[in-house]
Symmetry: C2
Subunit: 185 residues, 2 copies
DNA sequence: TCTTTTTGTTTAGTATATTATACAATTATA
DNA sequence: TATAATTGTATAATATACTAAACAAAAAGA
């Protein structure tokens, strides 16, 4: 995932080239100086929200279209040695794959539950959706008063606004892939 | 329409209060200093896009939700004496009601065609929609090879990617209300 | 009550966003 | 070709975003 100011730079240059406008012309339309526009396109500055707003207004395009991710963008996450979070005396390891992205409203990580490991999650905000896919091992999850057992390849989805508990009662590691989706508000 | 940095300030403070978070806590979650957050909420600064991005990420909310307009916001446009644009030797006057808003993708203005006045519009970009409502007078519009005559209370909608011409062949003023809608890209 | 902690606010220093101007490189025009 | 106009680039000066720290005001605990 590219930094937001780089995306703005690319998007700006794309529409400018598409409409065959010079920097001077865009400066004229938007009220943002030519030099600034140049720096924004090159990504060597982090513009103010009002500057970006002026650009969007002057070019008659949405703010979102300026900050949107290039659909061809590719992010690769390498295998990490150290977890980002450790719970339950090191028996629950959380490896962040993709941090929360305000664009997609999604966050993704891998959880390793060591033998006898467990994790209790406090309820999330209203409307949060949680998707868990079991990569390997035998996984037990308790939601409210019910407990479910899932094996590798199986998955579960639930709204996260209720407390839930992950458990690994076996002697083998349990590996999970978790996708969180947060609501707009 | 409030300035974007004021909207961000209000929206930020709203979700912070809603979640009962202190400035310190938000600073901790987002990596943006407490002082900066305070200034943003108060609207006495115009934050960088990356700063706003950090806030959105840290609070798990979308960028849009931070820049969105308060639905209860009200904008009133007073009657103006001078037109924003003058065409055809002063026989076509354009009064801007609402400038282009990247949020809604809409722009709105009033056109006064004086007797025998006319206006030729070059084609807009692909996907632009134009809505014209006749407030008073007898209005003639030519799109491509066809000419339409509209009276007060009547309206027309067409895609603006083709050249079109407004005409007033009478001896009375023609007053139009025009809404432009621009596509996302 | 007094102390301690937590809250929002201010301030001074610094990093940097932004502009205006000048420059270089390219394209148009004669 | 020479000249002019138009393009993107660089630079220096200024305005301001941002942080860290100190401060004040309110709430909580004793």
């Amino acid at each position: 995932m590219n930094a937001i100011h780089l995306r703005i730079g690319h998007n700006l240059q794309r529409v400018r080239k598409q409409r065959q406008l010079s920097l001077d012309k865009v400066a004229d339309l938007t009220g943002v100086s030519k030099g600034m526009l140049h720096q924004i396109e090159r990504g060597d500055t982090q513009p103010t929200v009002t500057t970006v707003w002026k650009i969007a207004t002057g070019l008659n395009i949405s703010f979102s279209s300026l900050i949107k991710e290039d659909e061809s963008a590719i992010s690769i996450v390498k295998r990490k040695d150290a977890p980002d979070i450790t719970e339950d005396n090191g028996n629950c390891l959380v490896y962040l794959l993709f941090p929360f992205n305000p664009q997609t409203q999604i966050e993704m990580f891998t959880i390793v539950l060591k033998p006898k490991g467990s994790y209790v999650s406090t309820p999330h905000n209203e409307g949060v959706q949680e998707y868990i896919t079991v990569i390997s091992g035998e996984f037990k999850i308790s939601i409210r008063d019910d407990t479910y057992t899932l094996l590798a390849g199986e998955a579960i989805r639930f709204t996260g606004n209720v407390s839930h508990k992950y458990r690994n009662e076996t002697d083998e590691n349990v590996i999970l892939q978790v996708v969180m989706h947060y609501p707009e508000a």
